[in-house]
Symmetry: C2
Subunit: 140 residues, 2 copies
DNA sequence: CTAAACGCTCTAGTTAACTAGAGAAGCTAG
DNA sequence: CTAGCTTCTCTAGTTAACTAGAGCGTTTAG
């Protein structure tokens, strides 16, 4: 039973993913997408998982990962088998980094909430520990 | 009672913040740092809260905010009073964005954990919903 | 069968965020 | 008072991640 999902042209991918054609070509050039196959005329044919690859790329990117970092992860995925120890270490590091980032985001959120309620006016006697930019009430 | 905290030269700031002198000047040029004062000779003098401003900048930046977004927040901070409604809306939007990002980070973390345990080898009958890049077990 | 839409390559431009170097002037320890 | 470090401005270069345009070939709807 062959699951014959039709490979698609770049335009279709662009439309569904809301990512410009040029960007998709650029990603392919960097090796983030595999479009080994081409039509006779030379048009790129993308495999069906391209959309999910793109959404992974965009998510990872919005979280501050560089395209080359993202490529490393996609390469691991593409290899398909368990990563070797070296790569495992890298993955674990990245996961730890993400935990860090989760904490930082919480802090930033508190800081912005602080700005919302105008806590710059808080007195010197109750320093806002969660809010490093608001440590000194300068204009007092 | 005047809290006379001495303003500092750029080199001192650079050393304490671990941010290069050139970068600090660049930030000042963009209006992220206020160094209104200068020595007679023209050397920049930075107020004492500069270090905490820099650490705010770096945190926000590592979370994907652009320097111009960061400037907006610092400007709100500098105005010192409660933000106007327009700005409140912006802040609330950013906070919502951060909540989004917190979720995305959780997803990414799960995806990386998935890669670690090599879940590409999981059968087609149990699709990994949390792991969009691992929806198709292509090499099967 | 042909026009419009789509896709290709190649070259080059853009933006954000730095980063480097030159040349001159300010500050400071001995 | 001067050697040597710090800082200044100005100009220009770099990297990542696109983005635009020219000029030309491919596909497909009527």
């Amino acid at each position: 039973m062959l699951v014959q999902e039709t490979p698609r042209l770049i335009g279709a991918i662009a439309k569904e993913s809301h990512i410009p054609v040029k960007t998709i070509r650029y990603y392919e050039e960097l090796g983030l997408l595999q479009s080994t196959r081409r039509t006779e005329g030379g048009f790129r044919l993308f495999p069906p998982d391209t959309i999910s690859r793109l959404s992974f790329i965009k998510r990872a990117q919005s979280l501050g990962l560089s395209l080359s970092e993202i490529k490393e992860f996609l390469d691991i995925y593409d290899r398909g088998n368990l990563p070797c120890d070296h790569v495992k270490v890298k993955l674990n590091n990245k996961i730890a980094e993400i935990d860090q980032q989760l904490q930082q985001l919480q802090i930033l959120k508190q800081e912005l909430i602080g700005l919302l309620s105008g806590s710059t006016t808080v007195s010197k006697t109750s320093p806002q520990l969660i809010c490093p930019i608001i440590q000194h009430t300068i204009k007092a």
